[in-house]
Symmetry: C2
Amino acid sequence: MTGPGLRERKKRDTRAALARATLDLAAEHGLAEVTVEQIAARAGVSYRTFFNYFSGKEEALLRPDDGDVTFAPRLLAQDPSLPPLEAARRALREQLAVLDEDQAGWRLRLTVIAAAPELLPRLMEIGSAGEREMTEALGEFTGLDPAREPYPALLAAVLGCAVRVTLAHWHAAGAARPLAALFDDAVDTLAAGLPAPAPQIP
Amino acid sequence: MTGPGLRERKKRDTRAALARATLDLAAEHGLAEVTVEQIAARAGVSYRTFFNYFSGKEEALLRPDDGDVTFAPRLLAQDPSLPPLEAARRALREQLAVLDEDQAGWRLRLTVIAAAPELLPRLMEIGSAGEREMTEALGEFTGLDPAREPYPALLAAVLGCAVRVTLAHWHAAGAARPLAALFDDAVDTLAAGLPAPAPQIP
DNA sequence: AGCTTTCGTGCACACCGTGCAATCTTTCAC
DNA sequence: GTGAAAGATTGCACGGTGTGCACGAAAGCT
């Protein structure tokens, strides 16, 4: 049992250092004001090396881990007799639990994203490991061909939205309620056909 | 009644020429392979002038007109007693009708986008003139504060998805059915709580 | 006509992202 | 242990992007 080996460990460390440096610098000055050179300097590697790990600042900020588990196996492990929406809800709840491991980091990350709105659509690709993959998995789960029937794509897109809005609300509300509960509420609203809630009268 | 004036007209012509050149070149070679210099040359202006009209290739491709009508007035013109989903559906149907004016152009545009998937999330900002604006308008329509209640943001995001998926399907299916009909189907599915359709048995 | 405003353009600059080749380090086979 | 293979880091050079600035030309106004 030699473990992951020195090489692997150093690679992971470098990647983590670069991601962390990107996050910290972006939190301080805003992502647009930070250069790759600064990031590399803070992480202790050369400018050129940065691009051995990430294709750009964006990726370094939004995809700090590369080996994140995909959505498809989680979905296909669900009970096939469940309605698709319910099965997907359970799979995504598992996936969101990963964020709980580094709550502080993700909250900071969401702060940076909120200040750089051009990144907002990209959140779609984080919580769900990509909408295309989700579409494929839902097609398999439901037995519908995504190329012919819009249902899998629609469901995947809508769920991606639900994740994104939930994250934004969780962040805006200061994480007052746990992420999983907020996500459940959102899916409940979807399952009910998006009825208008009663206006609050404060 | 002198009309728009020579100056205005030339500006609009230049903008249209740049947008058109971007679209044509991107359709021929793929957006990533096209340089701003080529675009400017084809439109008959200088490299520098391109940036007086667009902030980059992306915008030139996805936002050919700047003065597109916003979503908010369309929504607030709807009957306030309607459910929010239904009111938004009607407002968006009006907005999508604009695309019918240049069907061929938009179908070509969608082809380019399909070949450059990193642009796909940006479609959200076209059909709906921006998700934030939609959220605000829905907050006003429902009497909910978007900062406290997630419902307006969720509805706006989901509708943006519906537009995007509808456009993708319309394009993939070769515009066999009209855009408005496809959009109606999608909203019907949403209103019904995203139930699983029967699997096709071909 | 003259005056003001606005637009087009050239120039310079910092940054981005990539290909290539040289150098150094880990790993593995002998 | 030693040396070769595999792989990571780095410097260098290059084409492309996007912006600030200043100058000239054209359009609109009086």
